[in-house]
Symmetry: C2
Subunit: 395 residues, 2 copies
């Protein structure tokens, strides 16, 4: 049979970039493609111990079903982390999710009817679009500069576009550009959202991984009208394999999101919630994050230094204050997708993510995202040198 | 602000039964409400060991991101389990899910436009309706008898109802009735689905927990046209806290479902997939399931025996060949919801699930679901005796 899918599935199609990146899984390729944290920094010993303890605890509770909102103690611990980070909240304001990705899907399902508009940064996180697409939105991408999403353009778009339901932003060390939204723009974004009665979806997977500059207030902490849905995650500060993230939002929004959570997968893994909770109880997460920050700051410096030495002079890259990515802009006319397929992978044995897939509406061909967290420093130097040589050969 | 939700959220509302069941969480209440497996039968030692080994394995792969389709080895092992169970398939036919619940949500999102029809058993699994509701289906519930969904009524409904997209069934030890779909009806269901070009969603969380009678072929194994989506789960045969389930379906369906998986939560927990895989590699799952089967068969016998001795003569209950539930029908005019709120909880200190919430369209008041897997045998006897006495007092 040939299935007749629901209309929304017209938007659920494979991404061409996926196939290209699959080629990068070859271990002989130096991949700057994925957004993987460095596995040598995973707190394996601590995690092994907390898993052992929660599994062997009398009563077997960590193996049983749990409330769909999440383990009460973990919700409390997340509220404490958020409060310490300047966003006061309580356990009742926290919903545990299967990674923050699930919050992207749920937010769109909650707010977006087919044809409603989601404002995004341009470029924006590909996984966001993948999560939003089944809700059949129209995208209104807003260009960025070194201070993040441009508020003059946002204002114009909000004033002239009907049916804007949600503004999606990664305020810190944005994926893919590495750029951080300035404090002035955070305040302005909230003003504009209030004026136009729009939900703000704040995605903060990299927020804790800051190398330099001052920590800025979350959009949620600037929100006086309960219109910001804040998403957080343990994927980058502990390990991605746990799939534990969270949402903080007003009761009206969080209650509906909790119903979607129950509908979608009943609950996040009790084992993973219990182990995360015990880890937070026993260990100093901030001390672990300090190790990550120092390591990723070094790796970023190694990558940017190698790019300066090896790349052609006309390639510019962002210098992020944190996170996992830098964003390269090549000369006009350069096609980063074709170059990856024809040169970078087969000749230089290097992978990155061509920038085209990060643009929701009008792809630009001459950009690319580079991840510096996953590879050892020597491989970063080696890969960037090989890619630089290839770029110069084919200039 | 008062959020303006998407239209689909009109269907995403709290279930009254949830509040009633929350009262049953009081430890002084003997609860037959949830569908919890017996935690004393969890293989804690074996799970502690496999988690320890996958977390400490060099390279940290079990803590890292993994393919959104699931770990290749686990997909292969599930295919082997399915093949041994009479449903031949390969790893490519298997998608790992966050519990089979996620397959219910994804199936509806794939197939159902607002107003499309989902055929269900009547009564049916409440979690199914909760998963389907955001896709805004209309329900066509089909009455059941001791052989499961009635095929004469199904035929009539398919012949007279436009826009039927999917038939949802739990063929073994159905939730909530405990009834099993007979072999003749399985064949007939597939014939009817073929004739009317409808998808069949086969949900099998209890399939392995059979006490008596012969194992029947899965609907998927009778499917010659690639129209059955088969869902399976480790929640009842290992532990629910893992949240590891799977779908087996034709490439056209599985491919689309895999895209929804990527959109929704990126992937199921790598740790839990790796631990499940190592458990399957090291341990004899069938031997563990044999222990569960024997224990739950005893518990069912204890509950049914206690019901025969303590309940009024006019209460009938099903005698399931497996699974976790029996279904009670009280005298006409009895209101199981009111009785639970007014008598069972406050006087008898016993909880069950009133049957009304399992009927998608026309609730019947005089039914209830009883779970026999969660409570120790002595508590089953004690709870049923207390409930029986209360029923007789208020007859």
């Amino acid at each position: 049979m040939t299935p007749t899918f629901a209309h929304r599935m017209d938007r659920v199609v494979p991404n061409a970039i996926g196939e290209l990146l699959a080629l990068g899984a070859d271990p002989s390729i130096i991949s700057f493609g994925g957004g993987y944290p460095d596995p040598t920094l995973f707190p394996a010993e601590a995690l092994a111990q907390v898993f052992d303890d929660v599994i062997r605890a009398p009563g077997g509770q960590a193996m049983q079903y749990a409330p769909s909102d999440g383990l009460p103690l973990l919700r409390e611990q997340v509220a404490e982390l958020m409060t310490a980070d300047g966003t006061p909240c309580t356990a009742a304001d926290v919903l545990i999710l299967q990674g923050s990705q699930q919050g992207l899907d749920f937010s769109a399902r909650m707010m977006v009817d087919p044809g409603d508009v989601i404002v995004t940064e341009d470029p924006t996180f590909l996984g966001g679009r993948i999560a939003f697409d089944p809700s059949e939105p129209v995208y209104a991408p807003i260009p960025m500069d070194q201070d993040g999403m441009r508020m003059d353009v946002l204002q114009q778009v909000l004033e002239t576009t009907p049916r804007v339901k949600m503004i999606y932003t990664i305020p810190e060390f944005q994926n893919p550009t590495g750029v951080t939204l300035s404090l002035a723009r955070r305040r302005r974004l909230i003003e504009l959202a209030n004026a136009h009665n729009v939900i703000v979806l704040e995605d903060t997977p990299y927020r804790q991984i800051r190398f330099s500059g001052e920590t800025l207030p979350t959009l949620k902490s600037l929100d006086t009208q309960g219109r910001v849905i804040h998403l957080g995650s343990f994927s980058k500060v502990l390990v991605p394999g746990l799939r534990v993230g969270w949402a903080v939002a007003s009761p009206a929004l969080l209650g509906k999101m909790a119903l979607l959570k129950l509908a979608n997968d009943t609950q996040t893994s009790t084992l993973n919630m219990a182990a995360t909770s015990l880890y937070l109880d026993r260990h100093d997460l901030a001390a672990h994050v300090a190790i990550l920050r120092a390591a990723y700051a070094r790796k970023k410096a190694v990558m940017l230094d190698a790019m300066r030495r090896h790349f052609p002079q006309d390639v510019t890259v962002t210098d992020p204050e944190g996170g996992l990515f830098t964003w390269a802009t090549f000369r006009e006319g350069f096609d980063a997708t074709a170059f990856m397929r024809d040169v970078a992978l087969p000749e230089a044995r290097v992978a990155y993510v061509p920038g085209a897939s990060f643009h929701p509406v009008t792809p630009r061909a001459n950009t690319a995202r580079f991840n510096y967290s996953a590879q050892p420093e020597a491989r970063i130097e080696e890969g960037i040198a090989a890619l630089g040589a290839a770029l110069k050969r084919h200039a």
